[in-house]
Amino acid sequence: MSTENPAKQGVLSGWWSALRSPSSRWSLGMLLVVGFVGGVIFWGGFNTVLELTNTEAFCLSCHEMEQNVYREYRGTIHDSNRSGVRATCPDCHVPRPWIYKIQRKIQASNEVWHKILGTIDTREKFEAKRIELAKHEWARMKSTDSRECRNCHNFGAFDLTRQQARARNRHSEAEQQGKTCIDCHKGIAHQLPAGAFKAERELNDSVGGAVKP
């Protein structure tokens, strides 16, 4: 107990003892109701902001995303297609299950840090980093059995008879060999980095589940 700073001790320990002591003024019911309503409002606000950071518009508010990966994504099958169903940035890059989503969002604070540092704030810096960024994303996809792809593309729901013969053969082979989407479908929404094929072989050799044909 510090007695030489009574003012500081007064404020801090005052709040602390107020928090610890039972209320003699408010009824338990009142506290419960206020706590419940306050909790709903807090959680609603938290979730709203979380979902706001999960939109295409939010991703594109950084020029690093808009001028590099987004422009490559324009015109790919996930951006424009015959039925107009789109998969935008968060559909592939942010997990849907809550616990994995929060985990990814906490990791993303590192991306905010690099935004401040300006790690990829020019095209040249981005191109130099592209192989590293791509490797991270491929490894993430491979370790989760391409969870984000499978939100929409489910092996179980494939109607193989409606696929082209080439796709049909390769997909049934891949299913039998326990392959995952990202094993073959790399560079479908963004350009591939230089040295992509070498990195692909290294990834298949290092991560478990490397399947030889």
């Binding site: 082209q164 080439r166 560079g187 479908i188 350009q191 591939l192 230089a194 094929f197 044909p213």
Partner: protein, 151 residues
């Protein structure tokens, strides 16, 4: 003097005017191989579905083989060539895809190299996806295999 200038101006204007109308007539009559007039913007090309699966046979010996699948999304640039991901050895064995001819590895000095040579790097310059597009103009082309004058 003034009348002379006026007369010359009139003559010039007449000549120019006639020239312009004459040009207009000529431009109207020009026929190109395209269906629309030469001065108009080109109509967008018709969309043909790529014929996947079986590869069409070559119409003559030196014809670059046609591609029995779509290629429009494949990246070919300084960084990567996605065609090579299946058609270059050793991928061609793993993916059971046709292997690139060894002629593509010979450089301009006739020396064999281990990578596809730069002057053969842009696959889509010669190998196009096959579809049943109609001939742009009528012609008498016959495949070498059916031309009895040759074989």
């Amino acid at each position: 003097m003034k009348t002379k200038i006026k007369a010359i101006a009139l003559a010039l204007a007449l000549a120019l005017g006639m020239g312009v109308t004459a040009l207009g007539v000529v431009a109207g009559e020009v026929k190109s191989l395209r269906p629309n007039a030469a001065a108009e913007a080109d109509a967008p090309p018709a969309i043909y579905k790529v014929m996947e699966g079986t590869k069409h046979e070559r119409a003559y010996r030196q014809q670059p083989p046609l591609v029995p699948h779509t290629t429009d999304k494949y990246e070919i640039d300084l960084k990567v060539n996605q065609c090579l991901r299946c058609h270059e050895w050793p991928y061609s064995d793993q993916e059971k895809a046709p292997k690139i001819s060894d002629l593509h590895y010979i450089d301009r000095n006739g020396v064999r190299q281990d990578v596809v040579n730069g002057n053969r790097y842009f696959c889509k310059q010669c190998h196009v996806p096959q579809n049943d597009a109609k001939s742009l103009v009528d012609n008498k082309f016959q495949a070498a295999t059916t031309n009895t004058n040759i074989r």
